[in-house]
């Protein structure tokens, strides 16, 4: 009774996600800026500077890169996530000294550890070193209702997919993939072209 049982990976992940949900329901600004310097209230807007150090380990970066490329692979809509700096963006995000990002950090790090542990158990290798088929099989299980993997890791998958998508579609290549063609100076605003009017049933 006095000695708590060691946490299994599954318990740890649940606990982290549980805490995240509890934190999400409160507005705890006092938790902010725990480790490292934030952006500040008057940053230079013309120069990108990330004032906090990246905290993911090499192993975590490797798993992040592999998973990002499974989620957003090279195809006819654009290059793979890793070639657009998405893994580094995820590291930037989870390393930031703000409440929301600190909350995400726990979910991502616990999830990445689970992913590697699960791959080792099933394939004898960390996730990044597993074959493409093995990686896909594991992610399929995470996204399939009723599997233990889904129960353990789906919250992590959702957050990771959201960060990877935001990181991906905000790049110029991501714009092309999603169909954003703005941020260009125009002499006049043309309004919707004929094919759009037709698509909307307004022609």
């Amino acid at each position: 009774m006095l000695t708590p049982a060691p946490l299994t990976r599954r318990d740890a992940l649940r606990r982290v996600i549980g805490v995240s949900i509890a934190l999400a329901s409160m507005d705890l600004t006092s938790f902010g800026a725990a480790g490292g310097r934030g952006i500040g209230t008057d940053p230079n807007l013309l120069k990108k500077e990330i004032p906090w150090p990246r905290i993911l380990s090499d192993a975590e970066r490797k798993a992040t890169t592999a998973l990002a490329d499974i989620l957003l692979p090279a195809d006819d809509l654009g290059p793979a996530a890793s070639t657009l700096g998405v893994p580094d963006f995820i590291d930037e995000w989870v390393s930031a000294p703000y409440d929301a990002q600190e909350k995400d950090r726990g979910v991502i790090q616990t999830g990445l550890a689970w992913l590697d542990g699960e791959a080792k158990t099933r394939f004898g290798k960390v996730f990044a070193d597993s074959s493409h088929e093995q990686q896909t099989a594991l992610v399929d299980d995470i996204t399939k209702d009723g599997t233990p993997a889904h129960q353990d890791a789906f919250g992590f998958f959702s957050l990771f997919r959201s960060l990877a998508s935001g990181g991906y579609f905000s790049t110029p290549e991501g714009w092309a993939a999603i169909g954003y063609v703005g941020n260009k100076p125009l002499a006049e605003f043309p309004g919707p072209p004929p094919e759009v009017m037709k698509h909307l049933g307004l022609a």
């Binding site: 507005d27 600004t29 006092s30 902010g32 934030g38 952006i39 500040g40 209230t41 008057d42 940053p43 807007l45 013309l46 990108k48 500077e49 990330i50 004032p51 989620l71 957003l72 692979p73 195809d75 809509l77 963006f89 930037e92 995000w93 930031a96 703000y98 992610v139 996204t143 997919r161 959201s162 960060l163 998508s165 935001g166 990181g167 579609f169 905000s170 790049t171 110029p172 991501g174 993939a177 999603i178 169909g179 954003y180 063609v181 703005g182 941020n183 260009k184 100076p185 125009l186 006049e188 605003f189 043309p190 309004g191 919707p192 072209p193 759009v196 009017m197 909307l200 049933g201 307004l202």
Partner: protein, 586 residues
């Protein structure tokens, strides 16, 4: 201490203005051009949109892809310096839901707050005009005499006709696009003075089509953005968000439109980082200047002038008056009526988001436009409301936005399990298919909404801070429920899906006080010194050489966003002031 002029400041001035935003900028523009020597004190730092605005930078060029943080609550590129819902070292006091205890405000997410009030303050030259929404709607004839019309709230001491020419002049000066539609209580502008509106976007036209059978008008919005060059300013080039400010000066900011011509006269000196503490008076009770903290040295300094104009924002100007206590004015300066800080109003806000299948898989095209909405819905149920059919007394307009905005965080992909190439196809399919509807409604002033000085708490300069009392009435709460129902009706009519749930609980449909950043009424004008702080010229009844020209003078807060009216009012009041000073009456 930076002085934004090539020479040293004078020992005394004709007029001293506190604040540099919509009100301070317009006051300085009018008074300096009338030949008066003007000193402006700004609590924040010098700021130059031409040099500092991030034009064309993308979300990849920002930390965290430009996402909101407590340091930059409206996102990285938002043109707010050293401020937001909190200002470091400058607390304000609020109550949280379910508690009766006064605590320092600390929230930075307006939609999730349980504070009774949220107060947005920047600390920069030009104030909130650097990032504002550029929505420039005139108040109408009903809005100046609301009590006469339905028996509620307060009347202004003049009619719409009186201020109409000042709206004309303000619009001609700042540049506003839009159309004249001849609609009820939605005034037309001077014929030929509005700039042409940009063409509507696809989703705006689609919304217009489906609103028509619902009887909801969708018309071109009025935004303070140039679509044609004006006074040496370039027209909009339809890229990058107005909230970042505008380096080509195509939209209205005090820093690009009002302050440069005022400085050019040689009559305006500006001291930044000057945090005003109180207005000083002489033995006769006339204003003589202000005491302010030099933020660079921490020392208190004095500035003197024949006239003091407070333009520090409704609540900040009230705070200065309440902190200006003396034997002559024991309850604060110009507060014989007890109305300083009272009748605090914000705008009723409520929003709902819908996903519209008709917008899916749309051929890629550029929808950036003039960044803000090209169309909006003015209030359309005046007659039903006056007949008592709605259960709440005042109206709202609808702002809506969506479309194919520059991607950042928050990609809409409804299937939570999809990944791989299918994920990209889904992102592409749904991109631009989301529309958000936001109601902006009139609040009626009431006795339970006010600010006062907290008896204990001081800011880092030793200046006593404000605390906020707030209570919505049924008029606002039921209006917010009506907004939610209307938004659902529109989304349903478009064949769309509401994301989230329409909030029909009157206690929950409305956002917290202050969150729409339209706080006005705290030094209200009236026709009777017993019940108001200012006369119709924004002069304090008790101190004729003291004016307030920000949102404080508002006797009502119509659904029309207040900035244009603040400027028209400041122009009228300061023109009158200059005439009176020339006549030797002040």
């Amino acid at each position: 201490m930076p002085v934004i002029t090539p020479r040293k400041t004078l020992t005394s001035y004709d007029v001293l203005i506190v604040g540099s935003g919509a009100a301070g900028g317009m006051s300085a523009y009018v008074l300096a051009r009338a030949g008066l020597k003007v000193l402006m004190l700004e609590a924040g730092r010098d700021y130059d949109p031409v040099k500092e605005t991030a034009m064309f930078q993308t979300n990849v060029d920002a930390p965290l892809r430009g996402e909101s943080t407590k340091d930059k609550p409206f996102g990285f590129f938002d043109a707010t310096v050293d401020g937001g819902w909190t200002v470091p070292g400058e607390p304000y006091r609020v109550k949280r839901t379910g508690s009766n205890e006064w605590v320092d405000a600390s929230d930075w997410k307006a939609k999730q707050t349980n504070q009774n009030f949220m107060w947005w303050r920047p600390r920069m030259l030009g104030g909130r005009t650097n990032h504002w929404g550029r929505i420039a709607l005139r108040m109408g004839s009903y809005d100046f005499k609301p009590k006469t019309r339905d028996g509620l709230g307060l009347d202004w001491p003049f009619e719409y006709k009186e201020i109409e020419p000042w709206y004309d002049k303000t619009e001609a000066l700042i540049g506003v696009f839009g159309t004249n539609e001849g609609m009820e209580n939605t005034p037309d502008s001077l014929q030929g003075s509005l700039q042409p509106p940009p063409k509507p976007r696809g989703y705006e036209l689609l919304t217009q089509k489906f609103c028509k059978p619902l009887g909801i008008p969708v018309i071109p919005s009025h935004l303070a953005i140039l679509t044609k060059p004006l006074n040496g300013r370039a027209a909009c080039f339809y890229a990058t968000e107005c909230g970042r400010g505008c380096a080509i000066r195509a939209n209205f900011q005090s820093t690009t439109v009002l302050l440069p011509p005022a400085i050019e006269t040689g009559n305006l000196d500006i001291i930044t980082n000057a945090m005003v503490r109180e207005v000083t008076i002489d033995k006769a009770g006339k204003a003589t200047g202000v005491l302010y903290i030099n933020k660079d040295t921490g020392k208190e300094e004095r500035a003197t002038a024949r006239v003091v104009v407070l333009a520090a924002s409704g609540c900040e100007s009230a705070r200065i008056l309440l902190n200006s206590k003396s034997n002559l004015f024991p309850n604060g300066l110009a507060n014989g009526s007890g109305k300083v800080g009272r009748y605090l109003m914000d705008t009723v806000g409520s929003s709902l988001v819908g996903q519209i299948p008709a917008l899916e898989n749309c051929p890629p095209h550029n929808e950036d436009g003039a960044s803000g909405m090209h169309m909006y819905m003015p209030w359309w149920l005046y007659k039903e409301q006056l007949a008592g059919k709605l259960g709440f007394a005042r109206g709202y307009h609808i702002e809506f936005g969506g479309g194919r905005d520059m991607p950042g965080m928050g990609t809409y992909i409804p299937d939570p399990k999809v990944y791989g190439t299918a994920l990209k196809r889904e992102a592409r399919r749904y991109f631009g298919s989301i529309i958000g509807f936001a109601g902006r409604g009139e609040m009626i002033p009431n006795d339970d909404c006010y600010c006062e000085i907290d008896p204990d708490r001081k800011d880092k300069y030793g200046i006593p801070v404000l605390r906020f009392h707030w209570k919505w009435t049924d008029h606002e709460k039921l209006q917010a429920v009506h907004m939610q129902k209307t938004f659902k009706d529109i989304i349903d009519a478009m064949g769309g899906k509401v994301l989230g749930t329409p909030q029909l609980d009157p206690e929950k449909a409305i956002m917290a006080g202050g969150t729409i950043i339209h706080e006005v009424g705290t030094t209200c004008m009236g026709s009777d010194a017993k019940n108001s702080v200012l006369n119709q010229w924004s002069q304090a009844w008790e101190v004729p050489n003291l004016l307030v020209t920000d949102g404080g003078p508002f006797a009502s807060n119509a659904d029309k966003n207040p900035t244009l009216s603040i400027m028209a009012l400041a122009m009228r009041s300061c023109t009158h002031l200059a005439e009176e000073m020339k006549k030797g009456n002040i």
